[in-house]
Symmetry: C2
Subunit: 393 residues, 2 copies
């Protein structure tokens, strides 16, 4: 039969994620292309102990159906951590557990976007968000992300003229660029949002991973009634559990809960309980510091090599945290040709184009530094430098 | 601020599920209203052993990101079981793992429905499906579900005239009615679908739970290129893991995979691995037989009490399996008034109205018999009978 798919399925951009995952499994290739956190910081022993404890103490309950909003002690932990780390007051009732922060992207789009509505985001912006939003058939507008935050002139113009339903941004160590909003940019963005009908959707997947260990106050804290804030345990505990969360004003969290229930009733309860048991008995602060320190060393090494041993005409971002940096290639080098040339030399990078919701980015690549070690960085960057030289016009 | 929610959120029917879950936690109330499988058939020890094994043998891998389609050995197990139990040939590439079969409802709707498209389903039909589909703003058509299957005249008329994108049905021990399609009805439905542009969406959440232990061949097996078939481990292993699956033709599974990736990247990998390890070392057949036998005893007891000790003018379905039966109340008794009267007497039942996508069902209630024991059935049915007598005009 001829399948009559919905119109939205023709709006889906071609996906890179599964191809990347395949590349990441080839042992011959050093991959800077993926987005995996380092497996060596998964506290296997701690999680095993927590799993044993949960299955011994309240096993049947952990394996039964549960409520849509999520396991209350886990939401209480998240609430307490916001207060302690960021001095934010977010009660557990305003927190909903989801399947990793990717599910927030789908459900926020679902509760806000009708076909043809405008959604605004950073240029470049997170490709998983572009993929999720696209299925709700919006019109994309983008705003340049500069080293200290969005171009505020452009931001103000887009918010005022296009009246987007929401602006999606990652103020802390953004994926793909690694850029972080400055304190001034946070205030400016909050001011502009406050004067508008637009919701600020703040994705904070990387806020725990600043190399200097210091938290940056969320934009959502400046405009709590006009923002949603998502977080994730994927980058700091274990992505395979698929546990993230969203914080939102009461009226929004109610709609979100309704959409979550229709989507899959609730997130897997066993992993929520294991995670909660783990967090009760482990010091997340020191765990996160170890991760951030290691990622910081990798990032600095990668930046040094880019500065010292790459052809001239290339520039790169200077991340303060997170897992990614972005390179702008010397004139005349196309990132997709570099992707192929890199693979032939045994190094994978990610072309920047899928991160540009409104087109562009042909001369950019994203480099991941979380899932490689010092030797792999040195060898992989050598291969990459050689690939760029070979492609130079 | 005034939130500008999408139009679809105004299409969401008011939800019963969380209210039911709250009722099910009140120890004073005997609940026939919920949809929980019996916790005593959750093989806690077996799952604990499997979890320990997974976390000892390949822990870091189980906690890392994975592919969208799902853990291959688990999909291979599902494929082998279809061949052995039902003589169906469904390769693992045509199976996608999801967060319980509820997520299939959302994603099938997402890939097929544009606003205003027609979707057809049984009358009564599964309320979780009505909730999930509603958010895609379809026009609902329904077809009477009689004791042996859908009214084929009405089915044929609806498929021919309304050309629904898909027909959603539960041929085995349907939720809410407990009805099962006869072999003749399966053939008739397949014939009508084959001559149409409509996809058959077969939800088989209860096919393992026939009281006589005998499988019934899926409708999808008669029209493999024109059907999707979903299944779930929730009713036979443990719902808290949120693991189900969908089988679909290659072109459909590709779109489904795209929608799944945008929705949440992949289902929780740790639970997929635990489940797979559990299934490798446990005999699912004998486990399922024990569950079905116990549910069968409960169902027979409930039916006997309905026949022998309830006021005249009441009728009920005669399930061959599953977890639910449906009662049509004596004339003049409204199910919502009975819901309140029942609660005041310490018994919870579920009014039938939310199961009617196009309205109706005011004189019906759904009774769950999986999550109660013999004493609770006797006492709860006494309370219910008394509530009905009190409401008699």
């Amino acid at each position: 039969m001829e399948f009559r798919f919905s119109h939205r399925m023709h709006c889906a951009p071609p996906s890179f994620l599964d191809r990347l995952f395949a590349v990441s499994k080839d042992p011959e290739i050093i991959s800077f292309a993926g987005g995996l956190p380092s497996a060596r910081f998964i506290d296997l022993e701690g999680i095993r102990d927590a799993a044993t404890r949960v299955l011994e103490e309240d096993g049947r309950d952990a394996l039964q159906y549960s409520t849509t909003d999520g396991y209350l002690p886990l939401r209480e932990y998240i609430s307490r951590r916001y207060r302690r780390r960021l001095n934010l007051s977010i009660p557990p009732e305003q927190i909903q557990i989801v399947n990793g922060s990717q599910q927030c992207l789908d459900l926020v789009a679902k509760i806000f976007l009708d076909p043809g509505d405008t959604v605004a985001m950073e240029r470049p912006g997170y490709l998983g968000a572009i993929e999720a939003f696209s299925l709700y058939e919006p019109v994309f507008r983008d705003v340049a992300l500069l080293p200290g935050g969005p171009d505020t002139g452009e931001f103000s113009r887009v918010i005022r003229e296009a009246r987007p339903k929401f602006f999606y941004g990652i103020p802390n160590s953004q994926n793909p660029s690694g850029q972080t909003y400055s304190p001034d940019a946070r205030r400016a963005v909050a001011e502009i949002i406050r004067d508008s009908e637009t919701l600020f959707y703040e994705d904070d997947a990387f806020g725990e991973l600043f190399f200097d260990g210091k938290p940056r106050p969320p934009v959502a804290g400046l405009i709590p009634g006009q923002a949603v804030l998502s977080g994730s345990f994927s980058k700091i505990i274990a992505p395979g559990m698929r546990i993230g969360w969203i914080c939102a004003p009461p009226e929004v969290i109610a709609k979100f809960n309704c959409a979550k229930q229709a989507a899959d009733l609730h997130s897997n309860f066993l992993c929520q309980k294991i995670l909660s048991a783990y967090l009760e008995t482990h010091d997340l602060d020191s765990h996160v510091r170890r991760i951030a320190r290691a990622y910081g060393e990798n990032c600095r090494l990668m930046c040094e090599i880019l500065d010292d041993r790459f052809p001239p005409g290339l520039s790169h971002t200077e991340p303060e945290g997170g897992m990614f940096l972005m390179v702008t290639l010397p004139p005349g080098i196309d990132s997709h040709r570099l992707f192929e040339e890199g693979l032939s030399k045994g190094v994978a990078v990610l072309p920047g184009t899928p991160f540009y919701a409104c087109g562009g980015g042909e001369s950019t690549i994203r480099l991941n530094f979380s899932n490689v070690d010092e030797e792999q960085i040195k060898e992989g960057m050598d291969r990459l430098s050689s690939a760029i030289r070979d492609l130079a016009p």
